[in-house]
Symmetry: C2
């Protein structure tokens, strides 16, 4: 039993789809969420910048006494997870391994589609895990840079010609290649599940990376006997930009009103590194 | 005569449309450009965060000995210009006043349209200048949050159903209200000039805020006898994320190859404030 909170990190609001699943599976857990809304989006930035920001973000979360950190961000999970694991003495869980394993298991045709941000696709992280789990599987990857801004502007409804045109454009090559399993490799994408599902058709299995990450976290904590022992946990949300904007988007992603549970914090390398003794140089 | 360089600042690449006009008008000037590509976009962030970032960015530019700074960013021009002027002893020029004055002068119907980021529209800065210059003019303002990501993803061509749908959606209320002048209040928007122009029709005058800012800068420097006296100036570009991504977008915005002229720098409040003795607290 471990009553300490679980830390959950995302570059913005997308990670709330993971929080939602975590709360459903483990209602007794306390959660500390940090969304770097002052610097979102990460997915179009360089590897070096993503690593620098991720280190600062995790350093902020570690100012709390956590039992584990979930990187509920596809971009950081694919780009900086190994490094964050090396640098932190508590379990750091991502969304790549669980989602990649689920996809490797789900495919029958052996052709798996992968969509994510530019940084996620560039990293090759999914391909590595999938090919270890299923050496004959083939991965067709496609960066979808417009999905995050479209989701954040509420363009998620079937019938919206803008999102339907962009979905068709990005996903046609995957559909034509005959993928039977599609990994939604960014925690924003579950909000597009209906539009993507309708375009790909009922025979394609969608793998929600954020939800797979939440399920794997649940399993890891259970195996190490680190679940909390209480009826209802408390969630606290921290952001690096205005709390009002976050609360508005949280209502969409979490389907919950978080007003009053959100605080704004200052993320600055120098302050945190001084406090935690962590170096800020990129490798 | 003043041989010192002009500093030009933008949250990312949009300000390059201003640089392009500056170089055309004043080919002899040296230019130091800073684009905060590690934290772009600014337009959807809170006022406090925009002010904090703008101060850090201007502090970086002022590590050079400049004769003036042009805020070639609609969001920062509308949200932080007065403050930046108070805090800096050199001329700080924005895009709002010149564009608002040009619009107030151009309108015949007295109904002026204004488009920009959420922060620009929220600020009310254009309305203030327009109503001072033309008290009977009416301003119809509309935030266009999807324009920046669409432009950065190259969705600028007439015939692209995505950009045409979004343009129609955002601009229909302005068209229906009978605006005869439309201020493109974000330095990304000139790349949409053809699509916007075609939708609004030939009787609507488009005011390019970035180009108006460049023209006003030219005039200010000429009036104070501060133009440089050389045939061809040199431009240097600094960014807070990868130089390769910037060079790729610069080719679109500046229509020039800047490879080799771009350097990446670290923007951190504490380092700069220490060096320059500027306070970082938001008001």
């Amino acid at each position: 039993m471990d009553q300490r909170p679980i830390g959950v990190f995302d570059s913005g609001v997308g990670g709330l789809t993971t929080v939602r699943e975590l709360k459903r599976l483990l209602p007794g857990e306390d959660i500390i969420y940090f969304g770097d809304t002052g610097r979102v989006p990460y997915g179009s930035r360089s590897r070096e910048t993503i690593i620098k920001y991720a280190r600062q973000d995790v350093a902020f979360l570690r100012t709390f006494d956590l039992k584990a950190i979930v990187i509920a961000c596809g971009t950081v999970s694919t780009t900086a997870l190994d490094l964050l694991r090396e640098e932190n003495p508590i379990p750091v869980l991502g969304v790549v391994e669980p989602a990649a394993r689920a996809a490797a298991k789900a495919t029958r045709s052996g052709v798996i589609g992968l969509i994510g941000t530019q940084a996620t696709i560039r990293s090759g992280a999914y391909e590595r895990v999938i090919s270890a789990a299923n050496p004959t599987a083939k991965v067709m990857a496609k960066a979808c840079p417009l999905f995050v801004p479209l989701v954040e502007n509420g363009r998620v409804e079937p019938g919206d010609i803008v999102i339907e045109t962009v979905v068709k454009e990005y996903l046609s090559p995957l559909k034509d290649a005959g993928v039977d399993t599609l990994v939604l490799g960014c925690t924003h994408y579950p909000l597009l599940e209906r539009v993507i599902g309708a375009f790909m058709g009922p025979d394609v299995t969608l793998i929600n990376a954020g939800a797979e990450g939440a399920r794997a976290t649940c399993q890891t904590l259970r195996q190490s006997d680190a679940l909390a022992n209480r009826a209802a946990g408390v969630s606290r949300y921290f952001v690096s930009d205005s709390t009002a904007d976050f609360s508005r988007l949280a209502a969409i992603f979490l389907r919950e009103d978080v007003t009053g549970q959100v605080q704004q914090v200052e993320i600055g390398a120098e302050i945190l590194n001084h406090r935690l003794g962590i170096r800020n140089d990129t490798p």
